[in-house]
Amino acid sequence: MAVVVGVDVGSLCTKTVILDGDGKILSYDIMRSGHYYKGAAKESIENALKSAGLKKGDISYTLGTGYGRGAVAEADAEVTEITCHARGAARLFPEVHTVIDIGGQDSKVIGIGENSRVVNFVMNDKCAAGTGRFLEVMALALSVDISEMGDLFFASKEKVDVSSMCTVFAESEVISLFARGHKKADIAAGIAHAIARRIMGMVGQVGLREKVVMSGGVAKNAGVVRAIEERIETSLLVPYEPQIVGAFGAAIIASERMSTTIG
C-alpha cells in the first residue's frame, strides 16, 4: 500500500494527513508548532502514524508545506501552502474557484482555475491582523475561551465597530469598548466583522468566483464565517476539519508524485 504523508508546518500549528493509495484519509494530527518546527513535524507525523496503526517504514512519500516547510526533515519535497490549500480544497469541493484561508498568523485568498491549479493569490503575512493569533488575543481580552467566540457572535444584539485590525491596538480598543459598557457578544461580533472587512479587501484583489471554500483554523469560528458570508454575499463551504486542508493538499500532491514515479 503506497501510503503518503502531507505535513503542514504553520506558524501556530502543525498538521499531518496520511493518505492510502486510493487517496482516502487514514489519519490526521493537529498540534502546536511551538518554537522547534523540525521537532513539531516529527512528532506530528508520529502521532498520525500511531492513529493509523502504521510505522515510519510504511511511508512512501512525504511532502512538506506551510511556513516551516523547509524544516520537515522527513520530507521528500516541499510545496508552498498556497498550492496545497488549493489542491486540498479542490479535492474536497471540486466546484471551488476561490479559497479563503485564515491561519495562525497569516491569511490568503487563492483563485483556482482548471485542474485545481492556482491562477492568482494574495497573502497577508506582514502582521497577525485578522488571523488565528489575533482571535486568540481578542478572546483573552474578552476573557472567554476561543471556542466560545463563534457562539458569542450569534448572541450579539447591538452593532459595535472594532475599527483597528492591529492586534495591539484592537486589544486596547476592546478594553475601552468594555469600559463604555458594551456587551461581550457585541464586541465579539464587531471583531468578526473587522476580520471580514479585511478579508474582503483581499478577495477584491483576487476577484470573487464561486464556489468559495474557507480553510484554516479561523474557519472553525462560525461567527467569522457568517461575517465573511455577509460581506461577500455568498455562502462559504467549510470542510469538516478546515485546519488540515493544506496538509491534505500536500498529501494529494505527494500521491500524484508517487504515481508519476511508479508510472
Binding site: V79, T83, V119, N120, M123, D125, K126
Partner: protein, 376 residues
C-alpha cells in the same frame, strides 16, 4: 566580472577613489532621468545615486519612514557625511513627490558646491512639451558651465553622447547574448553590470564591457530547458536586493531579460545624434518607451509592453517588483495588474523594502508563483 563585483560591493569607496584617481569633480545624479551626458561633457564625473545597504538612522529626522528606500537611504547617507566625496547633485524633482524634497534637505544640511534642480515635463502631446524639455536642458548645461567656468561645446557634448551610446550598445549586446544563452550570467550579475555602468566613467566601463562581451560570445552554456523563464518588471530607481534575484533562480526560474531600472531601462534608446545634441537628448527623454510611470504617459500601456517582452523571450510569467512607498509605481500598478488579468498573463507582485523584514514571505510568493506557472 571581478572588477564589476568590486565596484558594486562598495560604491562609496569606489567613487571616492575615482575622484582621487581621475582628479575630477563628482556629480551625483538622482535616478532616473538626468541626462548624464551633459555632466560628462563638462569634464565632470556623473555618478548615479544609489541605495545604500545600511539601515536608515539620522535620515529619519529629515524624511519620514514612509518614503521609498532610495530616498531615505540617500538622505541618510548625505546627512551622515557618507557622500562627502560628491561635489554636486542633480535632481529631477518632478519625477515624484519624494524627489522634490531633496534640494531643500541638501541645501540646508549638505551645502553642495553645485546643485541643479531639473523640471523635466510629463509627456503630453504637442510641441510645448518639447520646448519645455529643451529649455530645461539648456539651463542645466548653463549651470554646469557656470560651475566649471568652461563652455560646453556642441562637439564635446556630441563626443560624450557617442561614448554613452557605445555603452548602451555594449550593454544591449550583453542582454542579447543572455537572451540567446539564458543562464550565462546570474540575474544578480547582470544587475551588477548595469549598476557598475552607473558608477564608473563610461570610457572605463566600455573597456570592461568589450572584454566581457567577447568572453560571453565565446562561452557556451548548457540549455536550461527545465527552468521557467520569468521577466522581472519595475523596481524604480534602485537595486533589487540580490538575495531576491538569487531566490528567483534557486526556485527553478530563470531571467532571460528584464524591465527593471537597474536593468534594461537604463540603457534603452540610444541618443539619435543627427543635429543639435541638446535636441537629441530632449528627444531621448521624450521617448515614451520603456514606459515609466513618472513620465505621465497614458496612450501606451506598461502592461502591454511587459507582456510583449515576456512573449518575445518565450517567458511564462511576470514578476512585478514594486518599491515600497513609491507612489508613481503604486498608482500605476492596479492598471498593470488589470491588464495582466485581462490578458491571462501570470503575474506576481513582490514589494521591495529597504530593510528586508521577511525574505520568507517573499520566498513563499515566488515559490507559489513558480509552482503556478510550472504546473504543480
Amino acid at each position: 566580472m571581478s572588477k564589476i563585483a568590486e565596484v558594486t560591493s562598495d560604491p562609496y569607496a569606489y567613487v571616492a577613489g575615482l575622484k582621487e584617481r581621475k582628479n575630477k569633480k563628482i556629480i551625483g545624479c538622482f535616478p532616473m532621468h538626468v541626462p548624464e551626458e551633459i555632466v560628462h561633457a563638462a569634464d565632470l564625473i556623473p555618478v548615479v545615486i544609489w541605495r545604500g545597504n545600511e539601515p536608515v538612522t539620522w535620515g529619519h529626522a529629515h524624511v519620514p519612514p514612509y518614503d521609498c528606500g532610495i530616498t531615505r537611504s540617500f538622505v541618510d547617507d548625505a546627512v551622515r557625511g557618507k557622500l562627502s566625496f560628491m561635489d554636486g547633485f542633480v535632481f529631477h524633482i518632478r519625477q515624484c513627490l519624494q524627489a522634490g524634497e531633496f534640494p531643500f534637505i541638501m541645501e540646508r544640511h549638505f551645502k553642495p558646491a553645485y546643485q541643479k534642480v531639473l523640471y523635466l515635463p510629463a509627456i503630453y502631446p504637442g510641441d510645448a512639451v518639447r520646448d519645455f524639455a529643451l529649455k530645461e536642458l539648456e539651463s542645466f548645461k548653463t549651470s554646469l558651465e557656470d560651475f566649471t567656468g568652461e563652455k560646453i561645446s556642441d562637439d564635446s557634448l556630441k563626443k560624450s553622447i557617442e561614448i554613452y551610446n557605445k555603452n548602451r550598445s555594449l550593454m544591449e549586446r550583453v542582454y542579447e547574448i543572455r537572451r540567446a544563452k539564458p543562464g550565462i550570467l546570474k540575474a544578480k550579475e547582470v544587475m551588477q553590470i548595469v549598476w557598475s555602468s552607473m558608477l564608473m566613467p563610461k570610457e572605463d566601463h566600455n573597456e570592461l564591457l568589450t572584454e566581457l562581451v567577447k568572453g560571453m560570445e565565446e562561452k557556451s552554456v548548457k540549455a536550461q530547458k527545465e527552468r521557467i523563464k520569468v521577466i522581472p518588471v519595475g523596481c524604480l530607481c534602485q537595486t533589487l536586493q540580490f538575495d531576491i534575484l538569487d531566490l528567483i533562480e534557486d526556485l527553478g526560474m530563470i531571467v532571460p531579460d528584464d524591465d527593471l531600472y537597474i536593468g534594461s531601462r537604463y540603457f534603452a534608446n540610444p541618443v539619435n545624434l543627427n543635429g543639435n545634441p541638446l535636441n537629441a537628448l530632449a528627444d531621448r527623454y521624450l521617448t515614451k518607451t520603456p514606459l515609466c510611470p513618472t513620465k505621465g504617459v497614458w496612450d501606451i500601456h506598461w502592461g502591454d509592453e511587459a507582456i510583449k517582452k515576456m512573449r518575445d523571450n518565450d517567458a511564462k510569467g511576470i514578476i512585478s517588483v514594486r518599491v515600497k512607498y513609491c507612489p508613481p509605481h503604486t498608482c500605476y500598478y492596479p492598471d498593470f495588474r488589470s491588464k495582466m488579468a485581462e490578458k491571462g498573463v501570470p503575474e506576481v507582485m513582490i514589494e521591495m523594502e529597504h530593510e528586508i523584514i521577511s525574505l520568507e514571505g517573499v520566498k513563499t510568493r515566488l515559490q507559489s508563483f513558480a509552482e503556478t506557472i510550472g504546473g504543480v
